[in-house]
Symmetry: C6
Subunit: 255 residues, 6 copies
């Protein structure tokens, strides 16, 4: 398969996001969504599937690697989405990859970790539902099983290569513990993935402010810098099309 032109876009339908993404996520390629705890990664991952169903009629698969499906259903409900309804209609499918399920696997996998079984389940869910979108939340809990950075990197490349063959547009959430220090937990994930989005939840003078930034879209233009967003029970995940200006920066914030 040969790419004749630039990568195409998949409009996400998430309010305001496609503006800063200059059209949407790179079609058919995985995107890393990284942020500290509570920064909104899971909300983004839910919205990505929900907007696909609501606005474009695209079914989706949600791979949950840490929370239970029920927990995701509750979170989605609080954003105004009825997942169970969609599950019954065959528009939303869960794949459970939480450590509770596959209890006794060896932890310190030095060589080739068998990510294949999970890939097969994801592939199967995609085929059955005809999904165009996949959210994998959180990816960190999977790659944290590789204790050696060299091995982690090689396996990451292999896993991501496998994901690209799935023929869907995929979001992978990833953890970080500092707001302005590097990009990802291991400092390796962002180089392997084609696209990187950072969600921030910055504490400043006792107040929190949420921002989203597209750090990298390989081979595609996008708007740069941080953009404010909110999470809301009625509107869900909403990106505000105004640039961020930290005090003591100059006053004009529109760009």
């Amino acid at each position: 398969m040969t790419a004749r032109g630039p990568i195409e876009r998949l409009p996400t339908g998430i309010s305001g996001f496609d503006d800063i993404a200059a059209g949407g996520l790179p079609l058919g390629r995985p995107t890393l969504v990284t942020g500290t705890t509570g920064s909104g990664k899971t909300c983004f991952a839910i919205e990505f599937l929900a907007r696909g169903i609501l606005l474009f009629g695209q079914p989706g698969v949600f791979v949950t690697a840490e929370e239970t499906a029920d927990s995701i259903r509750s979170s989605a409900a609080s954003l105004g989405f009825d997942i169970e309804q969609w599950e019954r209609e065959g528009k939303w499918a869960f794949v459970d990859a939480s450590p509770i399920e596959g209890e006794e696997e060896p932890i310190r996998t030095v060589g080739a970790y068998d990510f294949g079984a999970l890939m097969a389940r994801i592939d199967h869910a995609i085929r059955r539902s005809g999904a165009r979108r996949v959210s994998f939340d959180s990816f960190s809990s999977i790659i944290g099983r590789f204790t050696d950075l060299g091995v982690m990197r090689r396996e990451l490349v292999r896993i991501v290569a496998g994901m690209k063959t799935l023929g869907v547009t995929l979001i992978l959430t990833s953890e970080r513990t500092e707001e302005y220090d590097g990009i990802s937990r291991y400092g390796v994930e962002e180089f392997v993935l084609d696209n990187v989005i950072v969600l921030r939840n910055v504490l400043r003078d006792g107040r929190r402010r949420r921002t989203v930034e597209i750090v990298k879209f390989r081979g595609l233009p996008h708007r740069t810098g941080e953009w404010l967003f909110t999470i809301d029970s009625r509107e869900g995940f909403v990106v505000i099309p105004l640039g961020v200006a930290h005090p003591p920066a100059h006053a004009s914030t529109v760009r």
Copy 2:
């Protein structure tokens, strides 16, 4: 068991806290309460049970993993609560998980640490007392026994999953050594738990100021940022419904 709508709330009854929590703690889910030494974690854990008994008639179980039950009784007395009275009335029960008790267990548990025995004791105490609330103080002293971060994370997921089946609302206290650097000691706990509260005790120009912040409620709105609180012999733990503004920030602090 399927969640039909958003997660419900459990009003804590702690002065001012339910305001910033937009109603209370997420019902039936564990909440991590993290802070430096002396930041008020144990006071919060005591208040949580005490207010449940006083305001809502809900019995509680206090799992003490480091201090003795007597030490907790004294601390509670200084906040104006007579725990022994409640113990006699069957409203308050202690479960002692301190390392003094289970002396000779192996320390460097690599695989599955037998957290099960403790869970059985907690479960038993809950059933006997009909508890609706559980405080586990401190959780760090338990998870510090896993020396490998990968193992710790997997076990954390397993332990937390077990706790959710207890059918109670649970608080887990957790240690940190810096006020504004990450969230928890190991940088892993906050991602596994659904809800995270940070208690701070900040030294600035030689003075201390206590603040409480809800960093994350998965799937639920809450007020954000830091809020001042005090610990007092008459009023106990009191959150002040004024936002925090650090100098040299702008003057208006009401929001």
Copy 3:
């Protein structure tokens, strides 16, 4: 033994300190006194016993784990106290726990370090002298023998539990290498101990300033923040009842 009410206080008699301590140290419980080199830990430990003898007629035991007894006698003399006189009168007793004494013990104690022998000597000295106060200087040199943090914590809990059964009020000095970075050397001691005091010796614009702060009294109120103190050949350890205000903070420093 059951605590009916809040913990009682032991007035130390150290000038100005009982004011900020709201009456004195928590009676019958160990207190960690932590500070950088030369911050005044040993002076505080000497004063604690000396004031007990001079003002309240309470005998004391000084456990010296690094300096020799003679060195402590000299330091006390420079603060105006004649320890040998008190030793002759049975009011002051030394327990020597320095590494010079117990030469050939194994260093890398992985399991249960035999702290018992030292405890027996301390217990014996307390009984013989009828001591009400014990200073243990420095505690760091003892706990530094546990090379594994997990083991150190478990042993710390055990040691501190043993100390509480001695029926005295005890001060443990502990080392730190930075003035405003965490509390103790290993980041674990402060969580195990009920009470924590920090002595600081801050270099600013080429000048040094000494401050004392009560960081934690479990279950007891106290004044918060840093307070200036001096060490003096005539007055010894003197806390000045004025708050600290670092420039460029606002002018009023009385509180």
Copy 4:
């Protein structure tokens, strides 16, 4: 072979870059191009070959060690270059060195890693196409396989020596995770390579700014400091011949 005079230059043809390079890259010597994720390393590597073809009729070889050739083709297309056309014309050749290809090689190579096979493939591609320019993207994914810094350095020297015998001008991209902290990931690469360029993508007050800096050309003059550049679908990689002045620096930015 003896160098009689100073090293010659290879004009890159990248807009504005040859100005700050005082003529171009050192001819026949490898140059390290280092930057954080999304800083433009791959764009630079593509431009280097594309401008050689378009402006100087020099064929090029692109060694891709992490992304697939197709991914590079897409990225090039978005910069306005039709690589497949050039491939057909024999002006552009890919060498795939991604870990997906050479699956089962041993990871923890302690001694001499067999970089030779890859060198042979590169050498062959150069000969067949008559290439004058080679881009190796990314070099970090190769050297990250040496887990010992001492071994990495010795092997780096050996690899770089091998590259110099290829008779081409070569660009090696390399990863870093902080914008203003050191030069390269391992702190060793920049000392082994003769020439070092840093691409930065700095976040400041919520906005991003791209700069390029020539940190080192061994034995050759060049303009120093950071220079702004943009990446654009029509113009590609464009260096702006104005110096960078960070606020609050003085106003004049032309030099």
Copy 5:
């Protein structure tokens, strides 16, 4: 041997130093002199012996653990002292403890390192010359041989205890790599030694400034904070009795 009163002083005779030391170094006790490279440790160690000979007729022993005796002779000559003359007069003796001499000793001494042989040589030199002062330069090169911090500490205590029995006043130089970060290289030496002096050589706005500070004299008063000093071919090591005030501190620097 029992100390009846406070520790006595040994006036050093170093210009200005005895003023800030409130009389001199603590008599008969070792003092750690710590500083970065070139901060003046060796000059101080030379001056200490030289002033003893010139002003008080006290012979001295110089233990050189890294430089050769000849190198020290040259440095002393540049400060205006003729050591060889004093050597001939029996007033100055060298003990060479450099690693060149005792070639084949085992490096990774885990248990009791045989510091005894060196002590015997020092002791012998003291007896033969009737020395009252000893300079040991540098002590770091000796203690760096203990690779385990726990072992290092225990051995340090043992070595220092041995030194106290020598009946002389001793200076031990020790290395640090940062000007305002902790006190000593390993963070342990300063707690074992009774007295600590820091020499700083601070780079600020492109200029260097030398300061000396007495950080700790156990059991003795002294002036606190940093004091300027110079090293000069005519005057040697000269402490200037004016306090240091870093800009932007307030103007009055006399105290």
Copy 6:
């Protein structure tokens, strides 16, 4: 061999440098020249030999441990020096110590690394050419082979002692990765060497500025602080006899 007076000087002939060095480098002693990549270490090492030949008729030996001799020849040519001419005249000799040459030696030398063979080659080159000056570039690549800091230090002392017996004045270049953080890569080299010079290439507001500082000349006076310098195709390495003043420092920069 006994030093009767202070160490003598070797005027380098490098423009402006001998002024700040108060006459030149300490004669017959090795000097560490440390700096980040591209800071000018190799230029300084070349200039040192070239000025000796041009101004004082002193032959020199250049030990190249990482770059090839040809690379050094090119760099020298760009500074205006024709090394091959000098090689033919017997004024300049290369010793190649690059890892390419001595391929199969064991890397993790724990004990005594055989530095002797290299020393013999250097010694031979000195004798044959009658060299008075030696540049060893880079020394870091040699000492990085000792993976244990304790061993490295002992071997460094041994190597440096050997170098002093060569009877020449020697420059050793050494790497660092941060501009204002410590002195050398391992934090040990600067203590072993008698003389230390730091070359800096500081990025500030997007611009680079080069400075040279003499940090230490054991036993000799020198001017202190940072001094600006430039590298130029016509003038080579030129130190500007004006002090450095960083904004926002005060205006007068002459001293």
